[in-house]
């Protein structure tokens, strides 16, 4: 081990991210409350910015939720015009259209169950809000209208209500509102962060991720379930590691989630009451984003067995694990710092025959589609060389594909 000296490790580790700031620590701890009210407000704003990252991560799994309805298009997010906008295209990649065309970033498109509307998150008014628009981009409306940062929208299966996550003062809660934005209610009301809300297919329950419920394990997170009115909140996972990314099986009887309990992220499945938890992946890999196929027989997931983020699939019992596609190879600065990172976000077509995903195999982040067995991989979007050689903030990404709810239609 000739090289394991401090100097080598010092050269390898990323550089120090800015100066130490003890006052910031005290502010975050609440020890300065009252004394530095103004500063706390500023920090809260910063925390919100951080939370936005969280919101989009919380939204990632949500973005993939599919249900059934007419037509078939894929919504996605692209920043090819300089800020993030929501586009739609046909499933062969033709007819790409920018629906939002606004300053500010529009992200996280989620189709209404009937395929007629798209909810999304926009910061065009200065902080994150949940907006809704018609599927052609008309009638854009701010639903949340709140000084807090809102995001992570999830439609109820009947399309009447929308769940969202509100970040405020370093805390987040899950709210529900009517699809017109009226009747906003906090469902979780906990001191910790809650996110990733997911309706059960029958709309009666909501799975979500809760962090630090009792403020004892601030950096643990658990998968919870509650009734749709917020009552009966129950911790299903109860282990000291992060558990996250709940995804209901189409029949509502099981919940797939990701747990770090063995030190790596693995895909687990449990019964909807929390019983029968089983690690399906059992390997040293990082595997967020499990996505059930519409028929419930398969689960697509992301692995990094080889250092890149790949799209894999397995049977719902964990058997038959198989690599389907090269997904995302993280981009690194020469210093070793990550410049660009995007989840492959595998998402099933409503008929279960195809999977859309994100890959940067050609150098840019683009939306691809393939058959469910991995054959016929095709790039749908084209950013060409926009991102090359530029800092990632100037690079361009086509990400977060979301199939419109549709029946057995190919294109």
């Amino acid at each position: 081990m000739t090289d394991l000296d401090r100097a080598s490790l010092d050269r390898i580790l990323p550089s120090t991210p800015g100066p130490a700031d003890w006052d910031d620590v005290l502010s975050r701890s609440g020890a300065l409350q009252g004394r530095r009210g103004r500063r706390v407000v500023v920090l809260a704003a910063v925390a919100l910015v951080v939370a936005v990252g969280t919101a989009s991560a919380f939204g990632t799994v949500r973005d993939l939720i599919l249900s059934t309805g007419p037509s078939s298009r894929i919504a996605f997010v692209s920043d090819r015009d300089g800020n993030s906008e929501i586009y739609v295209m046909k499933t062969d990649g033709s007819g790409q259209r920018n629906l939002t065309q606004k300053p500010g970033n529009d992200r996280g498109p989620v189709w209404s169950p009937d395929g007629r509307k798209i909810a999304f998150r926009s910061d065009r008014d200065g902080n994150g809000e949940v907006y809704v628009m018609n599927a052609d981009g008309s009638g854009q409306r701010n639903l949340t209208r709140n000084p807090a940062s809102d995001g992570g929208a999830a439609w109820s299966p009947d399309g009447q209500e929308v769940l969202f996550v509100r970040f405020r003062h370093g805390n987040s809660d899950i709210y529900v509102m009517n699809a017109d934005g009226s009747g906003q209610r906090n469902l979780t009301r906990t001191p910790g962060r809650d996110g990733s809300p997911a309706w059960s297919p029958d709309g009666r329950k909501i799975a979500f991720v809760g962090k630090g419920k009792n403020n004892s394990e601030v950096y643990n997170s658990e998968v919870y379930v509650m009734n749709a009115d917020g009552s009966g909140q129950r911790n299903l996972t109860r282990n000291p590691a992060p558990d996250f990314g709940p995804f209901w099986s189409p029949d509502g009887r099981k919940i797939a989630f990701v747990s770090d309990s063995d030190g790596n992220s693995e895909v687990y499945v449990m019964n909807a009451d929390g019983s029968g938890q089983r690690n399906l992946t059992r390997n040293a890999a990082f595997e967020p984003s499990p996505a059930w196929s519409p028929d419930g027989r398969k689960i697509a997931f992301v692995s990094n067995r080889d250092g890149n983020l790949e799209v894999d699939v397995m049977n719902a019992d964990g058997s038959g694990q198989r690599r389907l596609a090269r997904g995302v190879r993280p981009k690194y600065h020469r210093s070793g710092q990550i410049l660009a990172f995007v989840f492959p976000s595998p998402t099933w077509s409503p008929d279960g025959r195809r999977i859309a995903f994100v890959s940067n195999r050609d150098g840019n982040f683009e939306v691809y589609v393939m058959n469910a067995d991995g054959s016929g991989q095709r790039r749908l979007t084209r950013n060409e060389a926009l991102g090359q050689g530029k800092p990632w903030r100037n690079a361009s990404f086509d990400v977060s594909p979301a199939w419109s709810p549709g029946r057995k239609k190919g294109t």
């Binding site: 081990m1 490790l9 130490a20 701890s29 020890a31 000291p240 030190g263 990082f286």
Partner: protein, 162 residues
């Protein structure tokens, strides 16, 4: 130290000021992102400030804080990716990085092994403190570091051969 309960704000501040760099950089090896590592360290110390009464004093305060920092960093990893890897051999000022092989070998270690390596050889913690920081037995620390050594050796040899 023995049997003591609680840590003082002053002690935490002193630890923070003297070791911020080390905490932040090792956290970055977990998060893969300096800014998020910084946020994790800030949050972790804020947690330590809030929970300072529950420090039992069975081991060094720094080990107790490391555990909080690493948990904070790890909770971020699910939104990120394993830290170490790179697209091409890194170069500093046009010169090839001298530790490229080691960087790659470290990148391929499981996170716990890699973190143990940084805690031992960069943060200079002893086995007991590493155990406390990682939430594992002292004996397991030795085994973890042995495993890390073994695979680093194998990989570095492979790198040389290929």
């Amino acid at each position: 130290m023995i049997g003591r309960r609680g840590a003082s704000l002053d002690e935490l501040e002193a630890l923070y000021r003297s070791r911020f760099d080390v905490f932040a950089r090792v956290a970055a090896s977990v998060t893969g992102d300096s800014e998020r590592a910084r946020d994790a360290v800030q949050e972790a110390f804020a947690t330590a400030v809030r929970k300072r009464g529950s420090f039992r004093g069975e081991g060094p305060l720094e080990a107790w804080v490391w555990r909080i920092v690493l948990n904070a960093a790890r909770s971020d990893v699910r939104r990120s990716i394993p830290a170490f890897d790179y697209e091409e051999p890194a170069a500093v000022n046009g010169r090839p990085e001298q530790d490229a092989e080691l960087r790659v070998a470290l990148a391929r270690l499981p996170e716990r092994q890699r973190t143990a390596v940084f805690l031992r050889y960069y943060a200079d913690l002893d086995y007991a403190a590493i155990g406390e920081a990682l939430g594992i037995h002292t004996g397991t620390v030795a085994a973890t570091l042995n495993a890390a050594h073994a695979s680093l050796r194998t990989r570095l040899e492979e790198e040389v051969r290929t």
